[in-house]
């Protein structure tokens, strides 16, 4: 927060450098550069198959890069595993919502708190006092984040997530991601499948959530108006290459962007 700790200025800072990913003969990302500055919300748009999800996956560690690097908060994380990246503060949601369907809302959310527990998994079986304290702290954190969605999830804590509406499932997924206490949140089309009302509700809530948790975000989205609302900085991807970059207002006027999007429709 202060000048005394120079490292905190890098909190949530992400740099993707000349990242290339090939699937067989197809180049999903071609020497792509991207920067997410700490505390900012950066958007990525592009037609289907332009490499947006691949981008999220190389940052999360699911897809390895063929060349290039991923630098998080000043450290090269290119070789780190998915759980390792999660535990240093990179959280994510998935394009197709991925929850643990047999578990309740609260149980799903608490899975995201795994790295916050100081007591071991073995301690959880024998219910040590330290675990109870840990549990209490994490439940309170969960309540705090769940409360950000008003009364959408709070009355449904014990409901199995399989019974929830699509939008509520997404809210659970986002809460689970925030339970990691991340400094960077990757959102892969978070509004996909939501109606306009729900999309806007989420778009209104996200900036506050991110600010309160001192977290930056990289968001991939189709809905241009939402990107314009949320992001200060937007990258436009097509065939794995950046075709435009800048403020949302400038980007939509770019002729290359118009061509890429019109070409699809």
């Amino acid at each position: 927060m202060t000048l005394a700790e120079p490292t905190t200025s890098l909190r949530g800072d992400l740099a993707v450098r000349a990242a290339t990913v090939r699937y067989g003969g197809l180049t999903a990302l071609d020497a792509f550069d991207l920067r997410v500055r700490g505390g900012s919300i950066t958007g990525v748009i592009g037609p289907n198959g332009s490499g947006k999800s691949t981008l999220i996956n190389i940052v999360a560690g699911i897809t390895p890069v063929d060349s290039g690097s991923v630098v998080f908060e000043g450290a090269d994380v290119t070789g780190l595993t998915v759980p390792k990246r999660a535990s240093i503060g990179i959280a994510r949601t998935f394009q197709a919502i991925r929850l643990f369907d047999s578990m309740s809302v609260l149980e799903n959310v608490l899975i995201g708190a795994t790295r916050n527990y100081r007591s071991s998994l073995a301690a959880s079986v024998f219910r040590t006092p330290r675990l109870k304290k840990d549990d209490e702290v994490q439940r309170e954190l969960a309540m705090e984040i769940l409360a950000s969605f008003g009364n959408r999830l709070l009355p449904r804590l014990s409901h199995p997530v399989g019974t929830l509406s699509y939008a509520n499932r997404r809210r659970v997924e986002i809460t689970r991601a925030f339970m990691l206490q991340p400094s960077l949140l990757l959102l892969d089309e978070p509004m996909a499948g939501m109606n306009p009302h729900e999309s806007w509700e989420l778009a209104e809530q996200l900036p506050g959530l991110l600010r309160d948790r001192d977290c930056s975000a990289l968001i991939v989205e189709h809905k241009m108006d939402i990107i314009t609302h949320l992001c200060s900085d937007v990258y436009v991807l097509d065939h794995g290459v950046e075709i435009a970059h800048g403020s949302p207002r400038d980007v939509v006027k770019d002729p290359a962007v118009e061509e890429a999007f019109l070409g699809i429709e």
């Binding site: 699911i62 999660a86 643990f100 795994t114 998994l121 079986v125 024998f126 309540m143 990691l180």
Partner: protein, 344 residues
């Protein structure tokens, strides 16, 4: 609702209404009684029956059947922890059973080590074998564990048959003394019932505790969506290796029980068919259900024992039950509807 209240509202009655948890222990007991009268009554009756069992069971033969059921319970529960809770298909529980049984047989016939300590050694040794075998296997992929554990079963069986100096080969190790602990000697199956009951109860309690814990939830998360679990910061290897080790420890305890119960250990008790039988117990009872594991063990052991003609077709009987279950109740007899079926 204050913030603290919301945190505690995670306790719900069966109809879904939130409950304020009573603070004093006695009020808590009354509250639980009022909420779940049937369940509490059943548990109390069950515990009483377990305690008066040696008095009410008329024949030594039936007592024998009960003790054999108790010996199989740790095996079935261990299998279910790995296959049901963690979703890793293992097919070699008999290997750990064998390690425990031979450890108990050899130590009790050749050394003066106190018998309770022998149980602990048998448990740890089986657990160690489970740990070592699953470490490389789980890393590669879950399915690989199936092949590796089946292979382990065959190896252990071969060692038991061939390493005659130590195991007695096909003739086995006879002459295992009566179980003795702190001056008390288990002179009959009525006495040994208590030993088997304690072991089965400890394994049951441990399995219930694991299932209800954060560790249990971690295993469920890995089973249901490994990618989402890993993206939530869960490492996929360690929790699954440990659960295989725990299940192997239970197998080791069952083996030690078998050794002291029979007074003899031979390789035929640890055939791959035995692993298959244990696998069937877990499936039939219900994946992820501790009560189911117990029921599965009792069904596949006691039924064929009591209905003698069924004995020779025990495995086939299990197979028929499984096929019927897969059609009518894919989650097993007591499997929770939320547990994902083995075959998705």
């Amino acid at each position: 609702m204050s913030k603290l209240d919301m945190g505690k509202a995670a306790v719900f009655a069966d109809d879904g209404t939130p409950i304020d948890v009573a603070t004093s222990p006695w009020a808590r007991v009354k509250q639980v009684l009022a909420l779940r009268p049937v369940r509490i009554t059943l548990i109390v009756v069950g515990i009483v029956v377990l305690f008066v069992m040696p008095v009410i069971v008329p024949s030594q033969y039936i007592m024998n059947v009960i003790v054999v059921c108790l010996i199989w319970i740790p095996l079935s529960i261990g299998q279910n922890l790995v296959t049901g809770n963690a979703g890793v298909t293992v097919m070699g529980q008999a290997a750990f059973y064998a390690v425990g049984a031979y450890t108990a047989a050899i130590l009790s016939t050749r050394t003066e080590i106190p018998h309770p300590i022998i149980f602990l050694i048998a448990m740890c040794l089986a657990g160690l074998v489970g740990f070592v075998i699953s470490l490389p296997a789980v890393r590669v992929s879950g399915d690989y564990v199936f092949v590796v554990t089946l292979g382990l079963n065959l190896i252990v069986l071969d060692v038991a048959r061939q390493w005659i100096d130590v195991t007695g080969g096909a003739a086995g190790t006879p002459g295992i003394p009566l179980f003795t602990a702190f001056g008390w000697v288990s002179r009959s199956v009525y006495d040994f019932y208590w030993v088997a009951l304690i072991v089965a109860a400890v394994c049951t309690a441990l399995a219930v505790a694991i299932g209800a814990s954060r560790y249990g939830r971690t295993l469920t998360a890995l089973r249901e969506d490994r990618m989402a679990a890993e993206a939530s910061g869960i490492r996929a290897t360690a929790p699954r290796v440990w659960i295989i080790a725990v299940s192997a420890m239970m197998g080791g305890l069952a083996g030690a029980l078998l050794a002291f119960h029979l007074g003899f250990v031979g390789p035929s008790s640890f055939d791959t068919q035995v692993s298959l039988l244990i696998f069937e117990m877990a499936i039939i009872g219900g994946l992820g259900s501790v009560r189911g594991s117990i029921l599965g063990a009792v069904l596949l052991i006691a039924l064929p024992e009591l209905l003698r003609p069924l004995q020779d077709i025990r495995l086939g009987l299990g197979g028929i039950i499984i096929i019927l279950l897969m059609i009518y109740r894919p989650n097993g007899i007591l499997g929770s509807s939320s547990t994902s079926p083995l075959v998705k």
